[in-house]
Each structure stands twice: as C-alpha cells, then as structure tokens.
C-alpha cells in the first residue's frame, strides 16, 4: 500500500471521472465490435432482449463472439458454457494479480467488482495501481463506463443490421493491440527485469496461437512470462 499526496485532494467523483476518462479510448475502439456482435446475434435469431441479457450477464467480448458463432436452436447449453469457461480462464490470473490492489475496498465491492473486470478495465486499473493507490471510484468509473457502453452498443447492433462495414478492413481490430502496447509500456522496469517476461510471453503466445485453436495462447503466454520472471529473479532481490 502506498498512499500518496494525491489521495487527499481527489474526491470520489473526480476519481470516477478519471477512471471513465482512462477507459475512454478502449470504449471508442470497442463500439464497432459491439455493433457487429449485435448484428451477428440478430442474424442468428437472437432478440435484442436476449442480446442485452448476454451482454449484461456474461459481459465478456471474445467469448460472446464465439458463443454467437456457435449458437443454434435449441441453444447448445453445455458447449456454449464450456467455451465461455475456456476463453475466460485468463481472468483467474488477472484477478490474482489485481487482488492485492483492491484489498482495502469494502467487501461487497470485492465481490461485485470482479463481475465487471473486462480485459481493458483490468489493464487500465493495473496501470493506475502502479502510479497511485487504486480507489473504488476509479475502478468503477472505468468498469461501469465500459459495461454501459457495451450494453448500448451490442443492443443497438441488433437493430442496425448490415449497415456496419467490416471493422478489420477499416483497421479497428488493431485498436486493441495499440491500447495494450501503450499500457504495457507502463510496466517496463528495465531490460533485465521485464525483458525476459515479455520475450517468453511473446514467443510462447505466438507458438501456441499457431498450433492450438481458441484462446489458450493468452494463458500459455502469460504462464511462460511469469515463469521467466521467477527463473531470472535472484532470490535475495525478492521484495513486494
């Protein structure tokens, strides 16, 4: 825990706004994909209300895309649930890392907060926790902004039909790597400490992505990266 001078001057409203501002680039990048997801769901025969139910109850973009592509009638419940579980396993690692930064949140927030932990929100609040103590208002400012816009975007997409152009052709798919590259810079602690982590994560992620279908490459790459950190860190240098 490292309380800083900025804690005294920042009100919850200001923190909430700071969180919402930090997530804004990700929200803007997400809009075309939300619209496309809604459009594809409608093409599969899902109603706007069902889209809203999925976006609010599941709230996980990549697993929702996969689910919609797998959807049939009657819904293959077990296959859809298993696919969601496998794609979202990375959340376990992300949550374990974030837990130490939300230990001072009230208990109900530590139960409700993870419900809204999307990749983009997680990356933004981890980055914030590097600079200052993470507040609940900042966390929920980022999380609820993304959540709300995801609901609006995906439901709107079910009405827009085929009006949307291909987001990959327009380059929108690369907005997410760009955001994650920018955020990753903040975690750079020198070539000796962070270099092996990033190299191992990149090599294993690319290799697994090439041969294993689905989202396993994220979990495999992340595990390789943290293994590299443990191997290359001298024992006496271990400090929180």
């Amino acid at each position: 825990m490292q309380p800083t001078a900025s804690d005294a001057s920042s009100t919850p409203a200001r923190e909430f706004l700071a969180g919402a501002t930090a997530i804004a680039p990700a929200v803007i990048a997400m809009v075309p994909f939300a619209l496309i997801l809604g459009q594809q769901a409608a093409a599969k025969g899902l109603s706007p209300l069902e889209m809203l139910a999925m976006s609010s109850i599941v709230f996980a973009g990549s697993s929702q895309f996969l689910a919609v592509s797998l959807w049939s009638f009657p819904a293959p419940v077990a296959a859809l649930a298993l696919a969601a579980l496998l794609i979202n396993l990375r959340h376990v690692l992300m949550g374990a890392s974030l837990a130490g930064k939300v230990g001072h949140f009230p208990k109900w927030m530590r139960v409700v907060g993870p419900y809204f932990m999307a990749d983009e929100t997680w990356a933004v609040v981890e980055r914030r926790a590097l600079a200052t103590r993470l507040t609940p208002a900042y966390y929920f400012g980022a999380a609820l902004t993304l959540f709300g816009c995801w609901q609006i975007g995906t439901v709107l997409g079910t009405f827009l039909g085929a009006l949307i152009d291909d987001p990959v052709r327009l380059g929108f798919d690369f907005a997410f790597p760009a955001i994650f590259i920018s955020l990753a810079l903040g975690f750079w602690k020198g070539a000796r400490q962070t270099g092996p982590v990033m190299v191992a994560a990149a090599v294993v992620a690319v290799a697994v992505h090439a041969v294993v279908p689905g989202a396993w490459y994220v979990v495999a790459g992340a595990l390789a990266g943290i293994a590299a950190a443990v191997i290359t860190t001298p024992h006496e240098a271990v400090t929180p």
């Binding site: 109850i57 819904a75 949550g95 890392s97 810079l185």
Partner: protein, 100 residues
C-alpha cells in the same frame, strides 16, 4: 422481444462460469504468500498477459508489425487516444498498400 428459455439457460450458464473465472483469482490471492517466487510471478503478470494478448496480433503480418513498432514509439510521447487513432489509420493504410 422475448427470451427463449433455452437461450436464457445458455446465457446464465455462460454468465455463472465467466463470473467464477473472474472471482477465483481474487479468492485464491488471499492464500498466496506476500513475498518469494509467487509474489515475483504476480508482479510479472500484467506485462506477461498484455504481451501474450498482443504478440500474435502484432506478428500476424508486415502491416501489423510495422504499425506495432510505430505504436510503441508514439506511446512514449502521445496521449493514448491519439496513439490508437494513428495505429488504426496506419494499419488500414498499410493493409491496402501491402495487400495484407
């Protein structure tokens, strides 16, 4: 504007399992040691996850690799939103030129 019961069942099953993946990390973190190799691993986790997510997309073609290099450079000095705009425009342009 209806919800088919099978669709709702699938959505609820997906939602329950997805929430379990989200809460599990927070629940087990309390039982993890505060120092030593486990702490080193958790500290390394954010850059490891971000790199793992990004690497296959970055190395999927020359347009993506060039754009990633420019993004890295731009991210040192420009605000995030501007970096994203540059990356999106550049990758779309390079894909047109390089036929990616």
């Amino acid at each position: 504007m209806t919800i088919d019961p099978w669709n709702l069942a699938a959505i609820l099953a997906m939602g329950v399992l997805t929430y379990l993946t989200r809460i599990t990390g927070f629940l087990i973190a309390d039982r993890l040691p505060k120092s030593g190799p486990v702490r080193v691993a958790l500290n390394a986790l954010p850059p490891a996850v971000l790199t793992a997510v990004v690497a296959p997309a970055v190395l999927s073609g020359p347009a993506e690799a060039i754009t990633a290099a420019v993004t890295l450079f731009a991210a040192f000095r420009l605000p995030l939103l501007l970096v994203v705009v540059i990356a999106v425009v550049l990758v779309a342009t390079l894909r047109q030129i390089l036929g990616g």
